[in-house]
């Protein structure tokens, strides 16, 4: 049995995080989960298994998270003109995602301030007291918990998403 990181401590830490994210900072995003079964690839040739241009998403859920905004970067394209991109990091509280049965994956879309970001990287690497109670081994399930899922995404065009009417 470990001395630190018991379920009481975890409960406290989760409450502090909830208060911090929900009441103090309150940065809200809408999360669009990629709806794989309803996404069809029949409108174009999909010879090599590339992504469909007709992705569909579940209805969004509103989440609080910590945002880390990268600067917008402007890229000169000789053929189409100037394009813009922006990296964005979303730090979600995993217990909240667990409550919603939401498992982030690459390709999911997160909307912030009317802009849409497609997730590229999903990192789950922060554990309370360094332990994950889902994999307690001899320590048991009373100690530790995965606290956060950090997602890194990039700004994407709304025209590609079919979430809102772009034009």
């Amino acid at each position: 049995m470990a001395l630190f990181g018991s379920s009481r401590d975890i409960s406290f830490i989760k409450k502090m995080n909830s208060e911090l994210l929900d009441n103090v900072i309150q940065q809200e995003v809408d999360y669009y989960k990629y709806n794989l079964p309803n996404t069809k690839g029949g409108d174009v040739d999909n010879l090599y298994g590339e992504a469909s241009v007709q992705k569909t998403y579940y209805n969004p859920v509103r989440l609080t998270c910590l945002l880390e905004r990268g600067d917008q970067a402007y890229v000169q394209d000789d053929q189409f003109g100037i394009d813009v991109t922006q990296p964005m990091t979303f730090r979600f509280l995993k217990p909240r995602l667990r409550e919603l049965s939401l498992v982030p994956n690459a390709g999911d879309i997160v909307e912030v301030r009317g802009a849409y970001y497609e997730l590229d990287q999903i990192n789950e690497n922060q554990f309370i007291a360094g332990k994950d109670n889902d994999y307690g081994k001899s320590v048991g399930t009373e100690f530790g918990e995965s606290l956060s899922i950090v997602c890194i995404g990039h700004y994407t065009r709304t025209t590609r998403l079919q979430i809102i009417k772009a034009r």
């Binding site: 379920s7 009481r8 401590d9 975890i10 409960s11 406290f12 830490i13 409450k15 502090m16 995080n17 208060e19 911090l20 994210l21 009441n23 998270c65 910590l66 880390e68 990091t89 730090r91 979600f92 509280l93 995993k94 922060q126 309370i128 009373e142 606290l147 956060s148 899922i149 950090v150």
Partner: protein, 392 residues
């Protein structure tokens, strides 16, 4: 596990009922349950919890405490107040209370001080000089033999009459005949020459016949001093030396006689006078019981509220301070646990210090000093009032 925190309200009554009813369930509302049956405490507990939570930032901020934390802080505050008050009462009246029965609860009862223990303490002084006390002064005597100057009291008296217990001689009756009875002794060398005069009046057989003479008192004193000085200088002085109960007599006795002395048995003096069980012996068993919250009036109640808040603040600080930093998604943050603990303790220290000062000023000594100061100030003030000039 989801450990609940302060939800915004509490119900001491329902918590208390579920615990104290049979069958019992839940937890006791307070740690010790000292005041759980006090109707005023029960009502105030919820209000105090609510007040403390709001003072700690609720509902804008979460307060990571539960109702039982607030109730326990409330109980601690009442107990602390009660202890401080009782402590000063005990301190103020300790001399009076020593030896009194421990069975009577003194809380809320004014004590009328007495001199009992002061006199008890004085008795030990009286023992030494023979003016009272609680150790017997005994009398004994040894038989002086003609020509023998030294006597061992341990052998002659202690071993025989006190079973070998060590004695301490307090007085030896070995002296000249008092000067007053030799006032007219023609052989003392300081005759006044009045004897014949008195005889002619028929008073010569009275002793001391000086009662019938119109002489100043100092004349008698001077004469007696003269007789004693004469004894000392011109005669072999009656005296003795006593070392380790070995007695040397001066002058050497010329005829057998009994010489009396007074003494105490050292063991009796050193024996502690032990009061019976059930008597107040020290601060540990002074029967000042906890003061019920319902008996405490506004001054104390406000102190208790503040102390409850300080304790709750300290508790919240300890909760928030268990981990120096708390992980948040992708980072860490530091809570105000350390600040809360420090503030809570400072508040408590200040409250206790203020209360002690207040109680100190209310001891008998403090009240007397205050009255003295008031009297002095009043005199000073009155001295400035113009005096009416009476002109006849």
């Amino acid at each position: 596990m989801n450990v609940p925190i302060w939800p915004g309200s509490s119900s001491f009554a329902s918590l208390s009922a579920s615990y104290y009813n049979i069958p019992s369930s839940g937890v006791r509302p307070t740690a010790f349950g000292y005041y759980d049956s006090d109707s005023v405490f029960k009502v105030e507990a919820d209000k105090v919890a609510n007040w403390c939570a709001r003072r700690l930032g609720y509902p804008i901020m979460e307060v990571e405490l539960q109702d039982i934390n607030f109730f326990t802080a409330f109980e601690e505050a009442v107990t602390e107040f009660s202890t401080q008050v009782n402590m000063y009462n005990a301190k103020d009246y300790m001399l009076t209370l020593l030896g009194s029965p421990t069975s009577t609860n003194l809380s809320g009862h004014p004590i009328v001080p007495n001199m009992g223990r002061t006199i008890d303490m004085a008795k030990s002084y009286g023992n030494e000089v023979g003016s009272g006390g609680n150790v017997d002064w005994k009398k004994g005597y040894i038989e002086l033999a003609a020509g023998t100057q030294s006597y061992d009291l341990d052998t002659l008296w202690t071993d025989v009459s006190e079973s070998g217990k060590r004695i301490e001689v307090k007085r030896v009756y070995h002296d000249f005949t008092p000067a007053i009875v030799r006032y007219f002794d023609p052989y003392v060398g300081t005759g006044s020459g009045t004897q014949q005069l008195l005889d002619s009046f028929g008073w010569g057989t009275y002793s001391p016949a000086v009662s019938f003479m119109v002489m100043p008192l100092y004349a008698d004193l001077l004469r007696m001093q003269a007789i004693e000085l004469n004894d000392t200088i011109r005669k072999s002085s009656y005296t003795f030396e006593l070392r380790n109960n070995k007695l040397n007599i001066y002058p050497t006795p010329s005829a057998p006689l009994n010489m009396w002395f007074e003494y105490i048995v050292v063991e009796e003096r050193n024996a502690a006078s032990i009061q019976p069980t059930g008597s107040v012996s020290d601060i540990s068993n002074v029967p000042y019981n906890r003061i019920e919250f319902s008996r405490i009036k506004d001054i104390g109640v406000q102190w208790i509220y503040k102390y409850t808040l300080a304790t709750a603040k300290e508790m919240l600080g300890l909760v928030r301070g268990k981990y120096t930093s708390i992980p948040i998604p992708g980072a860490e943050t530091t809570l105000n646990g350390t600040d809360l603990v420090q503030q809570g303790r400072e508040d408590k220290t200040t409250l206790v210090t203020d209360l002690k000062e207040l109680l100190q000023s209310m001891t008998r000594q403090g009240q007397m000093e205050q009255e003295t100061a008031i009297a002095a100030a009043m005199q000073t003030q009155l001295s400035k009032v113009p005096t009416y000039i009476y002109i006849k």
